[in-house]
């Protein structure tokens, strides 16, 4: 029973991280029908910048929670900047091009960003400082859920709630929903579509960066390649829940996280990645609209 709870907890933690990244994929796809291949790299860059900031702060004598907060904040700001720039350079010029072009551009940017970090920093794994403090009150359940897990779950939940509030109740959120429904009409009623798209990218990047910071301190090490795998899995989660559907992304992420955790725990961890890819392939073949999505009929 305890093992089951452990696995569930670890599954939820995975799911939370996947959700943070998946939201970026699903929002961007919902609005411009583009799979932002480079999104995983934003997550990776968020983690790297947090590590760098934390490293510098530690050397200059800071300590404790302040490092976590500063590192997280700066990483998030930078991720937003990268997301914004990415859209402006690699996707905006291709807004009206056939679907293949932005996809290839996205793959190109993914490669570019990976190698940019590799060359600017290092190909090796870098050890990430443990920034999350241990909470005393977690002692009794420590064998199932530790402080780090709690922080991840809570932070993710807060972030997702904040996003939902933003989309549902603010002006910019309304503009985003309108643009997703019908870009031309939104433009005609005065929505600055370019800004809306930029905001979408920025929001997705912020969430991804939060995920990167959390994962970095949780796992303890990062390297330039973590974006790729995490990206594919998060994308799987987004598709599983129905691409373009925000609650779907969260649902899909949780399902995938739990499924992976149980598979690794009860069967074998070697084929873990195959599992994720397998799920992806199966969904796309059998039910491309995902769990919560609607099948879109092409007009002939």
């Amino acid at each position: 029973m305890q093992y089951f709870l452990e696995l569930s907890c670890s599954g939820l933690v995975r799911g939370s991280i996947y959700a943070l990244i998946a939201l970026g994929y699903t929002m961007v796809y919902g609005i411009i029908q583009l799979i932002n291949f480079a999104h995983g790299e934003i997550y990776m860059i968020g983690a790297f910048i947090a590590l760098i900031v934390a490293g510098v702060l530690t050397i200059y004598g800071f300590s404790g929670v302040s490092i976590l907060i500063l590192a997280g904040l700066i990483a998030t700001i930078y991720a937003a900047a990268y997301g914004y720039t990415l859209e402006k350079i690699a996707y905006r010029p291709l807004r009206n091009a056939p679907r293949l072009s932005p996809l290839i551009s996205a793959i190109g940017m993914s490669l570019f960003l990976q190698n940019y970090v590799l060359l600017a920093q290092t190909p090796d794994f870098l050890s990430f400082p443990s920034l999350i403090p241990d909470f005393g009150f977690m002692e009794p359940v420590a064998h199932i859920m530790g402080s780090a897990e709690l922080v991840i779950l809570v932070t993710s939940a807060v972030a997702m709630v904040a996003l939902t509030v933003l989309i549902k109740y603010t002006r910019i959120g309304k503009a985003m929903r309108a643009t997703q429904q019908d870009m031309t009409m939104a433009r005609l009623v005065g929505v600055n579509v370019d800004n809306v798209i930029s905001v979408t990218f920025v929001l997705g990047s912020v969430l991804a960066a939060i995920g990167g910071v959390l994962v970095g301190s949780y796992i303890g090490q990062i390297n330039f390649y973590i974006g790729f795998m995490a990206g594919v899995k998060a994308f799987t989660a987004a598709v599983l829940g129905g691409i373009g559907n925000i609650p779907g992304a969260v649902l899909g992420a949780m399902v995938l996280g739990l499924a992976e955790s149980f598979a690794a725990g009860y069967i074998s961890s070697a084929y873990e990645d195959v599992f994720a890819f397998g799920v992806l392939v199966l969904i796309l073949i059998l039910r491309p609209s995902g769990l919560l999505g609607k099948a879109v009929k092409q007009k002939v």
Binding site: P93, I104, V239
Partner: protein, 408 residues
Amino acid sequence: MSDYMKRSFLVALWFVFLTFPLMVVKVNTLKNTVEWRWMNMLWVAIGAFVLSLLWRWALERRQLKNKEAESGEDESTRLGFGQRLLVEPKLYKPVLAVLFVATIAFPLLFDIYQTNIMVLALVFVVLGLGLNVTVGLAGLLDLGYVAFFAVGAYTYGILNSFWGIGFWTSLPIGGLMGALFGIALGFPILRLRGDYLAIVTLGFGSIAKIVIENWEEVTNGAKGIAGIPRPGFFGADMSITSATTYTYYLMILMVIFTIFITNRLKDSRIGRAWMALREDEIACVAMGVDMAKTKLGAYAFGAFWAGLVGVIFAARNTYINPNSFTFMESALVLSIVVMGGMGSIVGVIIAALVLILMPEYLRAFSEYRMLMFGAIMVLMMIFRPEGLIANVRRKYRGHKVMTEDVNA
């Protein structure tokens, strides 16, 4: 002009800010030290400034070009230099002659190391031509193409290590295995299009690599298969130099063979069906084309070629392991096809040679190779989506001479 300067200056500032943590700061978490690389900031500033100017200029040129195309100006009849090179015998005959001599003489002029590299480049030429059919002609975005390459290589490796089967027997088997996998993997994804297709094929490619890594009993896992014999010549004992030269000429023949076949396919009933499928699948099917058969044909054909050169690749290296068959390789071949111009045979050949040989010859830049690939892919899509050499469609000879009075 000064407006440009101002904008570019701001862009340079932005990029200095953006790249600051990664380019300037280097933290060593173990030793707890920080390295400040201020020179990098200067490079970024200058680079960003210059690139921003170029970017703005290039974007404006592109807008002009698009406006011209939209207003229907007669740009389509004026062929570019690359296209004229292909079409006018006065131009291409001498070029072909020079190429012919250079190709034959290559191994005699350069050492075995260079020849071996050239063999690798030629392998990727064939891979590019194969994927060119699937992606360029039929429009089926396959991001897992490397899987078929791996199938070919491991077919030879396994056949040889388990049953001692030689190169020449394994060659057609490798191709056939590739084709079979192409059909098997193509079947469940027939109804997928565009992005979804890309992701699923990406998944297939990754699954293939992971399976190879973990299926120890058959593939020897991450350790790979060693001692794979080079191509033999009627069982003669050849030195490494001779064997390499032999492989080189073999690849040259292979490339010519592939060009011949793909060229014939381009101007054929099935080639046109592939293109129509790419242009508008619904209309294509409505005109009587069997989608399943045609698509599977495209997958199988591309995969067959990958399998074929997979065998040769294994023979060239004499050792294979899963690390040669990653997403990077798929992306590389895709770059070759995109850069060459989808469907353009000559373009793909040039792109393959450039993308494989440049890093070898510009050793100083080799670590920037993948970085440049990424950048090239983005730039090509924005500024030259038609590729190095855009498609020149064939003119057919009918049995009638055009009569002016057909117009009422």
